[in-house]
């Protein structure tokens, strides 16, 4: 599987160091943009938009925004790292080394998880200064935060593997990741949607990550956290198996 542990640790460190070297862009920029979402949407949306009477819209919105930032940044980390390696041709340095496909994939995913969690934690800490919030289920919070960033890290790796140029990756980000995120119930409860859009939301795997995380933070959710967990884990496993196999076959990497 991994075998070359020192190589694996080296690549994990490199993936983390890479985004820390440009932390203004990779951590602080998403922190600022998410706080702006919180500020603006918190002001303009009516209080009832949360769909839960006991919660202010700010309280409802914050976990969704944290999750949105975590999943977008986890995706960005692995996908941009891989496409940059392709464009700069330094991916060959990795492909020439005795690193297994599982080790390469796992290290990229770990880099994505760390960035996603750092962004999420930073937003949570800063936002908690004016949004009163307490964590309802700490265990669920860790599970959904880690699983979601893993899943998006894996998806980012697959997108980076597929894309031959920045254009294609931007298209994937704008036409797949962004709509799935915005239509995942970050800004509203699925219970207030018309039935067609409710069904559409239930078909969106991102909804279960956001809803599970919201349950972890607020103790309320549209569906059971166990259902969210099952779908997230299932999606993660399928995606990982597919991606590692493609990497092992040299898809888009070894000609």
């Amino acid at each position: 599987m991994i075998a070359n542990y020192r190589g694996f640790i080296t690549l994990c460190r490199k993936e983390i160091q890479r985004f820390l070297n440009v932390s203004v862009q990779t951590v602080f920029a998403p922190l600022v943009s998410t706080l702006l979402y919180l500020l603006i949407f918190g002001q303009v949306m009516p209080e009832g938009a949360s769909g839960f009477d006991a919660l202010s819209y700010h309280q409802f919105l914050l976990p969704g925004l944290i999750m949105m930032a975590m999943l977008q940044n986890a995706f960005s980390n692995s996908s941009s790292s891989l496409i940059q390696s392709k464009m700069y041709r330094n991916l060959d340095l990795l492909l020439l080394s005795p690193m297994s496909p599982v080790a390469i994939f796992s290290a990229f995913v770990i880099g994505a998880v760390i960035r996603g969690l750092m962004v999420g934690l930073a937003i949570g800490l800063v936002a908690s200064l004016w949004v009163p919030i307490s964590i309802a289920h700490g265990g669920w919070l860790v599970v959904f935060a880690v699983l979601t960033t893993m899943l998006l890290g894996a998806l980012g790796f697959l997108a980076g593997l597929w894309a031959a140029k920045y254009d294609q990756l931007a298209a994937f980000q704008n036409f797949v990741i962004l709509p799935l995120t915005f239509l995942s119930g970050v800004f509203y409860s699925v219970s207030i949607l018309p039935s067609f859009w409710q069904i559409a939301t239930w078909l969106n795997p991102f909804f279960y990550m956001v809803d599970g995380f919201r349950y972890a933070v607020l103790g309320v959710s549209d569906v059971s956290p166990w259902l969210s967990l099952t779908i997230t884990v299932g999606f993660m496993l399928v995606l990982s198996v597919v991606t590692v196999n493609l990497l092992a076959k040299g898809w888009k990497t070894r000609r």
Partner: protein, 310 residues
């Protein structure tokens, strides 16, 4: 896994074939490169050299056939094979996020090395004239400097086999000489060196064994000296009294080049000098000097790779 001893070839290639859609890049290539060789892989552009090297390095998948590096199959036993190989690719790479020294340490880490490899990395930085640039990133370096970094990257794990794909392309003479001096040192320490180059005099001076590829097929594989000896032509320079002399019709086809009153004739090896002198005298050419010029690797290469000459 194959047991390795000193008789195990550094690289063993068996029936390797690769096609890109309608183009045959390699066609049933087999060759064996002994440990400790200084080996040149030559061929015109598009001959399949880079494809062959990329398959050896595992960057390209062969359609059929297999490659072993120090006894390890590059597909089935890729970890062991890659530990034994260092590749200096033809195309330059970039890495804007890490300084050169960090990049080398990371690369050593991929091969399972930690701090114990840092003194060797520092030695590489010194030997390749990169020490002053160790805190710079790749985009800030010139093409020649980037080439040196690529060589250092290929050597961080002290491979047994070093493959250099056009290492001196676009490199100035000073760096080229320094580079070959360093590579010679590595070879003297027992490293197997395989190179492709368009500078044939480099191959002739450095390499003991030569393989020539054309259109994906192996045309020749022998020692450099055997290859030169087997050349079917010899070159004779004749100096005539007048540059307006007209060579006899029987020799017109053999003129290789002419400068002033000197003609270089390409003649079948073994032709008697006395016959040549007689032909010149019969046509009224006054011969003042005649000497033999050794065929160069370039002559051999041109004869073997040019369809017109075959």
């Amino acid at each position: 896994m194959t047991a390795m001893n000193s008789n195990t070839p550094a690289i063993e290639i068996v029936n390797l074939a690769k096609r890109y859609q309608t183009v045959t890049a390699l066609e049933s290539v087999s060759l064996s490169i002994p440990q400790g060789s200084f080996f040149a892989l030559l061929g015109p552009n598009g001959a399949g050299k880079s494809t062959l090297i990329s398959i050896i390095a595992g960057l390209v998948k062969a359609d059929t056939g297999n490659v072993r590096i120090m006894g390890a199959d590059v597909v089935a036993d890729y970890m062991q094979a890659r530990r034994a190989l260092g590749l200096v690719p033809q195309e330059l790479i970039d890495e804007p996020f890490f300084a050169i020294q960090d990049l080398l340490r990371i690369q050593a880490g991929y091969f399972g090395f930690g701090q114990e490899q840092w003194p060797w990395i520092d030695e590489l930085l010194h030997n390749l004239g990169l020490w002053d640039k160790r805190k710079e990133t790749m985009p800030n370096l010139s093409g020649g400097m980037k080439r040196r970094v690529l060589i250092a990257l290929a050597l961080v794990h002290k491979p047994k086999v070093l493959v250099l794909d056009e290492p001196t392309a676009g490199v100035d003479i000073e760096l080229r000489l320094g580079l070959w001096s360093f590579i010679r040192q590595l070879h003297a320490q027992g490293m197997t060196i395989i190179l492709t180059t368009h500078y044939l005099e480099e191959a002739e001076q450095l390499c003991e064994q030569i393989a020539i590829l054309r259109e994906g097929a192996l045309l020749a594989l022998s020692s450099t000296q055997e290859l030169l000896n087997a050349h079917p032509w010899e070159y004779i320079e004749v100096t005539l009294q007048s540059e307006s002399s007209i060579l006899p019709a029987t020799l017109q086809q053999s003129i290789h080049r002419q400068q002033a009153n000197k003609w270089v004739l390409r003649l079948p090896r073994g032709q008697l000098r006395a016959d040549l002198v007689a032909q010149l005298q019969e046509s009224g050419c006054l011969l003042t000097e005649m000497r033999s010029i050794e065929a160069s690797l370039e002559d051999v290469f041109r004869a073997m790779t040019s369809k017109d000459l075959l």
